[in-house]
Symmetry: C2
Subunit: 190 residues, 2 copies
DNA sequence: CGAATTTCTTGAAGTAGTTCAAGTTTTTAC
DNA sequence: GTAAAAACTTGAACTACTTCAAGAAATTCG
């Protein structure tokens, strides 16, 4: 049931059997229905989510009242608002299930205790976080150097199944252009 | 001499005296001259830099041959290409000193050994990396929701000394608009 | 199933930015 | 201190995208 998380952890570190037991006894699985929020703007985010199945997006509502997706999380990704989580300040973001989703939700206090009991988890989270940061650096690069059309094709080439999986207007805003323009790109009218 | 780093580490974790000694004996200070590179596109990045004094920027050369600054690092920041570092793949970026800069440069092999000898450093790097990731999430938000003029004023309000410190064209590209447009914003001609 | 809702498409008009080219000012380096 | 290089400014022409409005298609759900 928590196998995807253990598999992911074991890509980076080795856990003792006793640590596996400890971890297993602490975790709980939650189900989030499509469109349900696990975080809303203004709330303090004190939970970190590991996605077992489904998809969660981080989005904001911009000054024109439109939703803008900033990030997607899918299977085997951690997602949270790290700034709100670490600094204990109100979040600027929404976290919402794009599909019916199953997550392991870990409260900050629970995770802090786990990290003290299983110090090698610090290493796991350090590596995962640095790798995710590296991916974000590339994302900034793509946003800065590619045209809207290039960004669409690049994303579509790398994640074709994902493009089928979520509404196009979410992908459009994630790639920083309008849903209408995406429609025109897809139709070859640009 | 390494005090800024120890001060920074001690904001997040407690080190034993023996660990301080160990760390101190491992570190070396390097000086990087203005405009000198510590990483060039295509190289594999196997070093992580802590900036004691000065400024380093991460930039790319876009398809039109123009430099585009993606990130700045100043005093008390760690900077590297995390994707190249972790995945051992050629970097997409340049890392260049914007001013004469002093850094603690730690080789990956040295850092790996240190992390084994001083496990609590895992915790330090985990926290720093997650916080930096949180800051990057906000950066994406600003890029997505503010106009060029808003981004300029926001940045100028938050980092007025920094805006004085580095060439304007680097800030313009960091904020994702042209140097000419920045000139017009500053002159109030927009 | 059928109604309601959500998502996608299309064209026309508008605009926030870029690009180019040339001149001016500031900084660097011998 | 002065020549060269780097950084900044300005205006005019252009363009990659947005916005709006309306209709069509697909999906959801009682």
């Amino acid at each position: 049931m928590y196998k995807p998380l253990f598999d992911h952890i074991e890509k980076f570190i080795v856990l003792e059997p006793s640590e596996i037991d400890k971890l297993e006894s602490t975790l709980t699985l939650s189900k989030i229905k499509k469109k349900e929020h696990v975080l809303e703007e203004g709330q303090i985010c004190s939970t970190i989510y590991f996605i077992i199945k489904g998809c969660i997006r981080q989005y904001i509502i911009n000054s024109k009242g439109a939703e803008q997706t900033l990030q997607f999380g899918i299977e085997n990704w951690w997602i949270t608002d790290y700034l709100s989580y670490h600094n204990h300040i109100p979040s600027s973001f929404y976290l919402q299930a794009v599909e019916n989703t199953e997550v392991i939700a870990i409260e900050k206090t629970v995770l802090e205790a786990l990290l003290i009991e299983i110090p090698s988890l610090e290493r796991y989270f350090r590596i995962v976080s640095q790798k995710t940061f590296g991916a974000m650096q590339m994302r900034i690069k793509f946003l800065f150097t590619m045209s809207a059309e290039e960004r669409y094709h690049h994303f579509n080439d790398h994640f074709p199944e994902f493009v089928q999986r979520v509404p196009q207007y979410m992908i459009a805003s994630y790639l920083d252009f309008s849903a209408e323009f995406m429609s025109k790109i897809r139709a070859g009218k640009v």
